[in-house]
Amino acid sequence: MPVNLMPNPGDLVRILPEILLTVFGTLLMVLDPVLRSRSSRAFGHLSILALLGSIAASVYAYANSGPAFGGMIVVDGFATFFRVLVMTVGILTVLSSYRFLARQDAETSEYHALLLFSIAGQSMMVASGNLIVIFIALEISSISSYVLTGYLRDDPRCNEAALKYFLLGSFATAFFLYGIALIFGSTGSIDLMAVRAAVTGQLGAVATPNFLGLAAALLFVGLAFKVSAAPFQIWAPDVYQGAPSPVTAFLSTGPKAAAFAIFLRIFLTAFETGDGWAPVVWLCALASMTVGNFAALRQQNIKRLLAYSSIAHAGYVLVALTAHSGIGASAAMFYLASYAFMNIGAFAVVGHLSGKGERYQSLEDFAGLSQKQPFAAALFTIFLLSLIGVPLTGGFFGKFYIFKAALESHLVWLTVLGLLNSAVAAYYYLRVLVMMYFREPSEAVNASEPLPAGLSAALVVSAVATLFLGIFPNWVLDFAAQSSVLIR
């Protein structure tokens, strides 16, 4: 495979979003002394500018889609979908961070720079067809995320979370890298298309088919860690609880969506023809849904509750992956988009209420929110109903498409068990609703400040997007359906 080492303009256009993000991230750190003396909000403004710019750049890159750098970067509809998604997640995170960071006296440029680097990594990851590039991008994203998790360095919970995340994340990365090594060993390539050709036997029999299976298993383990699917979910509750709320919102949506994107790309491109992994994903999906939902039933901490719910939702997406079809892939894409909005919205409300030092995190602290802050409570209700999967929300259509894809692939049992799981899940989301609407105001609610502008914007955007995806899903779904065909 000839690799042209001198980048041509076409190639640069296709990685323009990542270039923009990296440049702005660096710029933020360089300009730190200048901006800090003026207004600490300028960091946030600058990052939003960078993210908006990179969304525009992604769209522009899509207009000039195709492979770049000899196939290391593949700009297609699939990549663009996830690029725009992770950048939107970034914008919403920044919007909900303004007041949160000010309250913790922690407005610095590093926070925003790390966020931009992490998004750059994810953006690169979803737009790559080469295992090594995927790995490097994954690391860019992960290392930034580790640091972000421990961002409030005076908070012991935060430190614990960061250390756990770092250790377990590194293990996962090692698995992933080992998988890549074995793939290279048995197929002689790290390019997904070439691997596919080798797997399908177009290049003659693979010398070591057992290694290939092992490699797929290792990649699966690495990715399952990243998306917090059972039985590799242990880190998620602790990390999600300890990390600052906006960071948790980001972790549970952006990196997760990107990890699922490469999950889809690797397993529906390179290993599409292999059937061996389907039963494993089947089990993993069921385990994630069950473990997540049943563990969430008894949580008293709202962030832990949402963490377990996030594990369960990873299970739903894995159901779509088990369906092993174009419809399954587009259902997963749609679900990840709607999940991103509802989850960011939910965590934004959690962050808003948590107060200085994130004191208020228990379910009881939400008591009576509807009386003091009806607007925040109403929006949180929309997010929770969407997480339950009540119609006219994005969460419902996401589940609907996923289970439709599963039934079309004759996964009747997985569908029935998954849907029953979603009925179980209704219980713990209802507990939050019960608190907000049916109880008298708590100390936390009485102490809470009115909704700041940035947070309101993030909430309204998320709520409108959640409802929009629930009422007119076909705009996003059509794009997902088209681009899920392209990835092969």
Partner: protein, 533 residues
Amino acid sequence: MNLLTAVLFLPLAGFLIALLIPRSAAQASRVWALAVSLVTFVASLGLLAYFNRSLAGPQFTVDIPWIPTPDIHFHIAADGVSLWLALLSTFLTPICALISWRAVQKSVKEFYAFLLLLEFGLIGVFLAQDLFLFYVFWEVSLVPMYFLIGIWGHERRIYAAVKFFLFTMAGSVLMLAAIIFLYTRAGTFSYPELIDMLASGRLTFAPGEQMLLFLAFFVAFAIKVPLFPVHTWLPDAHVEAPTAGSIMLASVMLKMGTFGILHYCVPLFPAAARACAPWIATLAIVGIVYGALVALVQPNMKKLVAYSSVSHLGFVVLGIFSFTQFGMDGAVYQMLNHGISTGALFAIVGLLYERRHSLEIKDYGGVATVAPWLSIAFLITTLASIGLPMLNNFVGEFLVLQGAAIANFSWAIWAALGVIFSACYMLWLYQRVFYGEAGQEVRAHIPDLNFREWAAIIPLLAMMVWMGVYSQSFLPPVGKTTARVLEQSQVNVPYQVRNAPAHRASPGALTARLAGPLPLASATGTTEVARAR
């Protein structure tokens, strides 16, 4: 856009505008909700005026593509059954608004907003002609009811609200699976198209497959009805709900279940429905007798009425699974009757609670001496609920028992026990609450009905008499639709058609039925079917 769409979307528009009314203007919220629900009711009367009673199929059809992949349509229409049920919803919503006028003092704006949203969901359930749309409305109606119970209910409201939500949700997820499965088999969510495909044989199910699909739908509906073993959420929800919540829940929401059975389970999966009929009829009879017996010993008025609902709804299910014209006509009529008379029972019990702040029967006694008009209203309602001739329930119960007798005579005998028991528990309730010496508390706290309360109760009483005396105003469109359902279920018993006197009047004419020799009079219904073919 037609009148039907207007009837459906007026409450939604009302809900959205109600959200904008400031919280401090509580009176404005009340007036707004009452006005919107009255306008909706008038619009639905317009539907009645334009409804062509000689047609059996859906009318006022609106079919707009909503989502292209999978092919989901906003497809609504009304037939002879759904029209009446939609009217029942629009009729009861203003009554609920009136009844709650003074009873609801907390978060008034939200209460009335949720009431309108509930009306939207309920009307939608009855009108949807697209299975997906049906599911959407089915779930959407759940949310406002959850909040109505949870926020404005009594002491154990949270438990009741959560139980209500989870029971319904658990049932409906399997229905969702079945709906998706139907789509993968038929490639459409459209109800008329599915019926066509089944009739023409383009869509067939293997027996086991059909049974599973039937059960997935049936369990969801049975929970909502509620049928005997899955009824436990109902007493909790009823007792804890505010008056308006109880009325909407008992009068309209339970009908979502029976309507679903009649409209979806039977025509879509006829063989499975027929195979299960003896079992389901048995459960229905157990429900009738069990509900009545448990109602007998309740110390709490609302709980008593709630268990009486379990008993009454058993009649509806029994009527449907008798697979006779009579039984089905009676079942639909009984749905409407139960809506009116149980609605009135809950309304008056709510008025008593508003005055005395207790639901315990032992806290009352002698109410008739202090509030004679209220007592008369309750007496008429009680008699209607028992099934006294000339009042509405009699017609429905009579038709159901007749249908059951044709299908299996012992069913009718057992079910008739329920009628006897209903007289026992209702009259005993009446005796304990209204007769006897009026205590100090009762004298001090129970004034008679005021103008607003009369305005809410009178329409209900008027309907009880009208539906009891002249069922002919209501039954013909019902008969047309149920005959079609029977035809779709293809389970008529042939020999009765042979015996049918050809000149017999159309079903619904109660007098004609009473005049005929009893067992053979049953054939009138089947003549209708024969003619329809």
